[in-house]
Symmetry: C2
Subunit: 356 residues, 2 copies
Amino acid sequence: MSAITIKDVATRAGVSTKTVSRVINGERHVRPQVRDAVLRVVDDLDYRPNAFARSLSSSRSYLLGLFIDDPTTGYAADIQLGALTRCRERSYHLVVEPLDRTAPDRADILAKIVRDLRLDGAILAPPLCDDVVLLDVLDAANLPYVRISPHGEPERSGLVFMDDEAAAREMTEHLIALGHTDIGFIEGDPGHNVSAERKRGFMAAMAAAALPVNTAHVLVGDFNIRSGLTLGDQLLAAPNRPTAVFASNDEMALGVLITAIRLGLAVPADVSIVGFDDAPLARAAWPRLTTVRQPKAQMAAAAVDLLVDPRYRGDIQAPEFKTLLGYEIVLRESAGLAPVSRVVAGEGLEPPTPGL
Amino acid sequence: MSAITIKDVATRAGVSTKTVSRVINGERHVRPQVRDAVLRVVDDLDYRPNAFARSLSSSRSYLLGLFIDDPTTGYAADIQLGALTRCRERSYHLVVEPLDRTAPDRADILAKIVRDLRLDGAILAPPLCDDVVLLDVLDAANLPYVRISPHGEPERSGLVFMDDEAAAREMTEHLIALGHTDIGFIEGDPGHNVSAERKRGFMAAMAAAALPVNTAHVLVGDFNIRSGLTLGDQLLAAPNRPTAVFASNDEMALGVLITAIRLGLAVPADVSIVGFDDAPLARAAWPRLTTVRQPKAQMAAAAVDLLVDPRYRGDIQAPEFKTLLGYEIVLRESAGLAPVSRVVAGEGLEPPTPGL
DNA sequence: CTGAAAGCGCTTACAG
DNA sequence: CTGAAAGCGCTTACAG
């Protein structure tokens, strides 16, 4: 056990413990000479501040809480890893806490965790980020928090988000550019607000291209592979099936892909299928999924950055605390030109050029 | 902020802080009357001990570390949730730390975390549980640890495990009972020791039934869906394909399933496919996968139980610190009777009876 | 720019 | 069975 304390360092460096404390915490007002001398001793002795002592006296925990509705998803894993890594870099610790969004007592649970762990900040992953009951708890506790991909009330906290609507629009435009005119869309879990945003992006692109949307080809899923299987069948087994399907996440897209294969449809020759997320599954499937890469790890890291920023407590309204991150359309093999026989001519579309 | 301290409770209850401390920590030697009185005050005031103060003075952190090679898998998520939940019940906290098993400096990273966080105990999930370098670090730090599903050196720590070999044997016997004689097997990542154990179970069952194993039908995968797709193709596209495939985990089984569908094979009419793990995917696939349910959450919970047991530090060799948990063969739709035309007669098999 | 004193809220010996 | 004293290792005011 490292019995080395701040006292040992102070003695050895010939300064007071307070000065060592200043150096450790990067405070100003320390002569460079002294600073360097202290740092050298810290290094020599391999001194590590005792986090408990520090927390006890400063009444800060250096502990951030990440609240996640369903921690078993790939999305959650990516968020978690991103937050964890950045916390480590910032000398903070992260506690991941599952919080069932349907639990009637979720507010009490959250309050208890915040108090028991004496968190210094909280991160709310979707869809918890849109649960007003939880925001109220955090406000009441006067705890700084950051929301990832929230839908409404942007003034209530710092935010980290990407433009889901624009991404969905762009993906749809890509399909349209490939010559598709009848595009099926599978919405995500209505409990997640991003579901509506992605759908809006899809509708906007269709409208901008003056393409009619077949309401029978717009279905509501739940982000799970199962709904991709079922709804994919509904979409593709019918005689007037769409030539492309845009699923609101990769898991559902994979379900559609499996269904297409089962129905004997070639992908993308007979039907193009695209997803959203760039989950590991998207890369593994055969053919690999064209999808939207969401910067999940970066979003989580950015949330940590906001929370540890000393200015954050002061003015959560500042534009610098609304972090917008970019997405990326990842082109792979699951989407291609619309089947020639089905391209509707005279819609103002250029004849699709091969090679993407 | 709850400014209520042990002092407030002591004053209000008319006892010393030491007595309150005793009650809180469930120590003996407190008169029941006094005990009850203190507890009542604790309740009234909604008093919560300050974990930092407690840790600082007791030099215990009440913090357990869970080390995982790849935290983005479904397996990791289940382990994590199980450990987290039990920690909460035991008033401990859990820190999940990803630790790349291939990192050359993984020993240093581990040592640093143990020291910086002042962990009270560590849990090593596979395949880290079999990394001697890491065990050495923990031994040197004199930190109690528990390994989940380790392969060797059972005397070095408490263990939580299930009988992978027996489970694989039983699953194979199930396929044999269904009339299958030519069964393909896809081994897991050779870097995980369970891979070899599951294979042993498969071989044992085949040998016990006096069935020959076609070496061309025993392939090595890596636990990812991609290898299921590739190896599934290798197995099923050949003219003398097996009538059943046993993949060492569900992800690979799903890959085989997708390949089968793509090849136009009916599952299970043409080929039966079974997995291992009972991952969420296993339930979602169509048809749903017959698989082995591994008690992942319970294993993690059991690991926590060992670590917080005060007797654990004393004698890790005691048989009570080697926790064996049961598995379950989950019968679903992906496995069925062997195609009649291909059943090899006269091998001592009863004619398969329908209805499973 | 630097330091001496007090205190954070518990638990650990040590008494009785 | 119960308590008074000291201390865990830091940081927070407060001085200078």
